[in-house]
């Protein structure tokens, strides 16, 4: 954690100094905002939390409810989300209060006596070590709390504006082209409407999104035909795996997906209610909690379930639907205008809850759009950056729907319908990287380069998220995870994995450092006057030597920037390898050195040789509209 460089901080260092719009932030929602986010679910809150790090941008997030969410429906937290929480500073805390999945059990009818279930298999949840982060289950309300805390502690001092329902919007002209009509749902003005004008609107208003409707997107997908009862309950039982994630299939009573929850007692059960007839007319939705409990008891024979308290329950029919686009640019207008309105999360993709994916994909929607809006609104980047959001996230949503269709169909299958008795657990193990959240691989675009030099860093695939590995910080000899040093501060990261020469000796690394520091076409040249040299680009170096062999005094200055009003030298960006876990070996890094460029949302954007300064400059040139080097953008600057 980096602090004290603006002077001694006595209190919680997570509370950053207020800046920009955070210095005197209006309590009331203003009439004009840069970004209006609609909905405080996971997608909206992550986008808001990311934007809260851009204190020159006025971001407000409105919510129909009068206050905080008390109990949410989503609870699955994949490792990629915990990795994201780490960047937002609350991974350790949410891990401490969540349920952690380390194994999953599969129960099936006993071949000797099919009326009884028996455990047929146990599988490790992450047998391959996909991530150093755990797979968690915790109520979404707590996730939202933590994002809320992060934004409150951010320089912009952001907090949600509760009690506003989105009614509609129109996109017109001018500085604030999006005119949004809101309804007061609480407080003294309840029932009255008001207009807020925004530069950009992010719809994070759920499956029945009115923002989506207002920009004319259509949801396409299959019809629902299988119903599930879901309940969060406190119960006693003799079922031995009640604190394990279980897929339970009975001979004739359907199936259960059991998800233990935080706190040591609570669990969720998805209980199969069977096929829904076409003429059901919603009758299945009237299934009572008593009926769901009775059905669960029938499925888990010979065990019984004694429910003592019901925290929440519902009945739903599985549907898989996907929006045709994630923003307000019609296909025929692509390339002629940039978007003003975006939709995220459940507003874009609805599917079964049982793969535990929805909240996670939604948060990555928010992470993706958040920094892009920040960069455009701060004047760092051109508006064309915003077109990459829909292009990138549409593909991810499509993959999600496809995965969930297979998984939920498998879960609804009767045991005798499986060709291979271990089909369910085989699928679960085989596809582990997808539900853990690490299959996303963005295609080349203005923010993802072609993987021309991928062979220099085989463990950092271009377009996939930067997978951390251990290194040793030179100045304080601390062993750390390199990836965990990157916080959600909206900065690009340039990791220089050095050639074998001694630090500071004539070498490609030293030449690159000189160019980064002083080259007129270096991306760092775009950094605004007066800002710290690392304000936009966080440049770190990892030498191949172990830390005792690195003379920090000889390390080039670009890796030791002066920061803050006292111009203090910051030494924590210089690393050596850990001989017991050499990052060059672990990530397939070329011993001749390599540059890895990582986006603010943690995706690898480029892999280049140390000497490829021209390519590095060319990659960033279209992304930087400020500074001397990019006059082509200055005429559209907002």
């Amino acid at each position: 954690m980096h602090f004290h460089h603006h002077g001694y901080v006595s209190g919680d260092p997570r509370v950053q100094p207020a800046a920009g719009v955070g210095i005197d932030r209006p309590t009331q929602l203003p009439d004009e905002v840069d970004v209006l986010i609609v909905g405080t679910g996971p997608a909206g809150m992550l986008a808001a939390a990311q934007l809260s790090q851009f204190p020159d941008v006025t971001t407000r997030i409105v919510e129909r409810r009068a206050g905080r969410l008390a109990i949410g429906q989503a609870d699955g937290i994949q490792a990629r989300s915990v990795e994201t929480f780490q960047a937002f500073g609350f991974a350790e805390r949410i891990i401490a209060e969540a349920y952690r999945i380390t194994e999953m059990a599969f129960w099936k009818p006993d071949p000797q006596n099919p009326a009884k279930i028996v455990r047929s298999a146990r599988t490790l949840d992450d047998p391959g070590g996909i991530s150093e982060f755990p797979h968690l289950i915790v109520n979404q309300a707590r996730v939202l709390d933590y994002f809320g805390e992060f934004m409150a502690n951010s320089p912009s001092r952001m907090s949600p504006d509760y009690g506003y329902e989105f009614l509609g919007l129109e996109v017109g002209e001018g500085e604030y082209p999006v005119s949004v009509t809101l309804l007061h749902t609480a407080g003294p003005d309840e029932g009255q409407t008001r207009i807020v004008r925004a530069k950009y609107v992010v719809g994070a208003d759920g499956a029945r999104s009115k923002v989506r409707a207002s920009i004319g997107c259509t949801m396409a997908g299959d019809q629902a035909n299988h119903a599930w009862g879901v309940m969060d309950v406190l119960a006693n039982t003799d079922f031995p795996d009640i604190r394990l994630k279980c897929a339970i299939q009975s001979h004739d009573g359907g199936s259960i997906l059991l998800i233990p929850r935080e706190g040591g007692h609570l669990f969720r059960m998805y209980v199969d209610l069977g096929e829904v007839p076409a003429d059901d007319n919603g009758a299945v939705r009237k299934t009572t909690i008593e009926q769901i409990i009775a059905k669960a008891n029938a499925i888990i024979q010979p065990y019984t379930l004694d429910v003592r308290n019901v925290a929440w329950h519902s009945v739903y029919e599985v549907g898989h639907r996907l929006t045709d686009r994630f923003d307000d640019v019609l296909p025929e207008d692509l390339g002629t205008r940039t978007p003003r309105v975006f939709i995220t999360g459940d507003a874009c993709h609805t599917h079964s809850a049982k793969a535990g994916q929805g909240m996670n994909v939604s948060m990555q929607d928010g992470f993706n759009i958040g920094w892009k809006l920040g960069h455009v609104l701060e004047g760092r980047s051109p508006e064309s950056l915003l077109s990459t959001y829909s292009a990138e996230r549409q593909v991810v949503a499509k993959d999600l729907i496809d995965f969930d269709k297979v998984w939920s169909t498998l879960m609804a299958k009767k045991p005798e319908e499986f060709e291979n008795p271990s089909e369910l657990e085989d699928f679960y193990v085989r596809t582990a990287e997808f539900p853990a959240g690490f299959m996303t691989e963005y295609s080349p675009s203005m923010v993802v380069a072609e993987a021309t030099h991928q062979e220099l860093a085989t463990g950092f695939p271009v377009g996939k998220r930067f997978k951390s590995a251990p290194v040793v910080r030179v100045c304080d000899t601390n062993p750390v995870q390199l990836g965990h040093q990157a916080t959600a501060d909206g900065r690009w990261r340039i990791y220089v994995f050095a050639d074998p020469a001694a630090p500071g000796a004539p070498s490609p690394t030293t030449d690159l450092a000189a160019w980064l520091a002083n080259g007129p076409d270096s991306p760092l040249a775009a950094t605004p006057e007066g800002a710290d040299r690392d304000a936009w680009f966080d440049v770190k170096v990892v030498y191949q030597q172990d830390h005792t062999a690195i003379d920090i005094g000889a390390v080039p200055a670009v890796f030791k920037p002066e920061v803050g009003p006292f111009k203090l030298t910051y030494l924590e960006k210089v690393y050596g390898t850990d001989p017991a876990a050499d990052i060059f070996e672990l990530r397939g890094l070329d011993r001749g050195g390599v540059v890895v460029v990582v986006r603010p949302d943690q995706y690898v954007a480029n892999v280049l040789p140390l000497t490829a300064t021209a390519e590095l400059a060319a990659f960033f040139a279209p992304l930087l509209r400020t500074g001397n080097r990019a006059p082509e953008f200055q005429d559209h600057a907002g």
Copy 2:
């Protein structure tokens, strides 16, 4: 983390349900309290935090200042303290913001050119793996903040009463025998005094303690004769180890102890100001910050220090002083009465700051007295328990003074005075367990048994703190640290390390479980009517099998207590071994099984065979005044 068992918890589960005096806690300091703690330093805050877990006890903590400490002087956090923070739920957060010491460097005059210093050695801070917790440096104000948060979240909803200065006390008769005179130092009543009557008073009011004076303790020790300038500064320098803990000795300019601090820039320097003449009359105290900086620059030649900002500085002379007793019972009254007033922390022991020990030992003072007061005031234990506080902590303080005398003398020595050039670093490495906080070994008393059966658990020495080791929780297959499952909730812990039989099969473990559950002389029989069966005793079992071989349904009921209003079965107290790190091997546990009893402050109290029910009953009998079994205590119950 254990929650939801009283019903669904929507918010932060660290906020426990209010209970007892926390339900309608008076904002103003009442006239009568059970415990009055004087001073909100580390010792007082830890004692208060521990007592905040006893909601039937009215504890208040008063502080002369009008509010929170902004900048404190202590900053060294030994691993034992981080272990303690873990029990209070904030280890991960303070680790995230603290400086972590992993190595220490030693600098000495260059033999070729003694005017210049050179690095002579590097040592690992914890080469032997003394603890799974790190050694940290962070300002004490942050430690106090976290304890404050813990007590605010506790059932008693405690917070400090600021603006009260302790003037004096008298111990008389009656239910609230200690009459304390306080002065309002802030607010509308500033300058006025008031009387608060208490059952017990804890003096945590620092080196110039008035509580100590009021009970007639005397401080004995050596005269100060060596002066040090200390400064917390932000600076630039070419000294390469500025972010490492360093002992720096110059040929003729004295020495420096360099302690990097949290945040990446701040550091503390203890700069040698030399011997203080007997006729100095405090002149050395007038040394200016400029003089301290100049002296530091002289010592670190050929490097230079460019101080940009001074957060704090002071000059002090080393003194080593120790109080003759830690409570108000005069030697001649020992055994005839129990104490009413206790002193803790700097009120008992003052010494050099340079070993980074003071805050740590003070916190353990607070941990020691906190649960004992809670148990006595709740009626669990007789008042004689309180006499063990002074007996136990006096020895620890004496050891601290002795250690610090050697260390600070070594630090003040000139290089040419050392017989062995590596004497300083040899001492540092050789004594690592002491400064890490793990050398404390309480002698036999009513809360520490004779180590008669120590050979059954050689890795859990009776009287030393319970050193954690990995196990696997059966119900959810989570690998966990056994010791970390114990929170600072004031409970005794009984760890049953099972014999090799299958869980539930006829065996010594199963017999012990039956006796614990139903034996009329079992300590659990003392648990109050209506309370959960694990309210006073947290009983956990570790089987020798790995978790997949343990049928949780067959595990005896005492290890799966029913908790909360819904009588939910709690399954998280049943563990298997981790085949890759077998706790039986790691801690030298007898394969025939062993019982390890651990105190609420984490010290091992007893090691017994599984069959030693009579000895276990006999150990607890004098400690339990409530319940059917202990009529001998009922007549003195308060």
